[in-house]
């Protein structure tokens, strides 16, 4: 079974440029999460989806970040415009509600803003 797939793995952009990250969750998983991980720190939730609905986006900086999960499957996280402080790893995870509680993570997308 394929795991959570994220792309791109690495992205280098100049500040004020836009960037987008894509996530394909494990088939059948109805919950999807985007986490931000700064170097040497634990991941922090940006947004949580149940199917197509964003049920928790309280930590998403909505002035520059946006996300969507069309048809309750793939998801895209966008930053526009990027700032120097956005340099981090963006992790996607998926899970099945009402199950073991485990989340499955992708390898992450490392963003460097110059």
């Amino acid at each position: 079974e394929a795991g959570v797939v994220q792309s791109p793995r690495y992205k280098i952009i100049e500040k004020k440029q836009p960037v987008a990250f894509w996530c394909n969750p494990i088939s059948g998983h109805n919950t999807l999460y985007w986490y931000l991980q700064n170097l040497g720190q634990g991941p922090e939730l940006l947004i949580r989806y149940e199917n197509e609905e964003a049920v928790d986006d309280s930590q998403l900086p909505k002035d520059r970040f946006s996300a969507e999960r069309l048809k309750g499957v793939d998801s895209t996280l966008k930053i526009q415009p990027a700032e120097l402080g956005d340099s981090a790893v963006y992790l996607c995870a998926s899970g099945q509600g009402a199950s073991t509680g485990e989340l499955f993570f992708g390898e992450g997308s490392r963003l460097t803003v110059l």
């Binding site: 999460y33 634990g42 790893v89 009402a98 073991t100 509680g101 485990e102 993570f105 390898e107």
Partner: protein, 114 residues
């Protein structure tokens, strides 16, 4: 709000020896999940072990075991017979239910020396 605290930024252990990682959490819930995740340098989070709060018996997975003290809100991880492949960042995480977000601690870097 729930918080997860890992007070050991780094722990060093020799091969074949045992190391214990500490984790405390704060919650007012009575039912919840606790996890230890491993993050090797490739960045993909891998589940090490899981504990449901209603279960009194401590979880065990091969060389990995936990000491779950519900009243003390403590959830430590013991790695026995340490191997070089155990070197990674270990995160303690809390989840209130199978639909909610995963709340992470800051992580503990485990260094394994030959």
């Amino acid at each position: 709000a729930q918080t997860v605290t890992q007070s050991q930024p780094e722990m060093s252990v020799q091969e074949a020896e045992t190391v214990t990682l500490s984790c405390t959490y704060d919650t007012s819930e009575s039912d919840y999940y606790l996890f230890w995740y491993k993050q090797p340098p490739s960045r993909q989070m891998i589940l090490v072990i899981r504990q449901e709060a209603y279960k009194q018996q401590n979880a065990t997975e091969n060389r990995f075991s936990v000491n779950f003290q519900k009243a003390a809100k403590s959830f430590s991880l013991k790695i026995s017979d340490s191997q070089l492949g155990d070197a990674a960042m270990y995160f303690c995480a809390y989840r209130s239910d199978s639909w909610g977000k995963l709340q992470f601690g800051a992580g503990t870097q485990v260094v394994v020396t030959p």
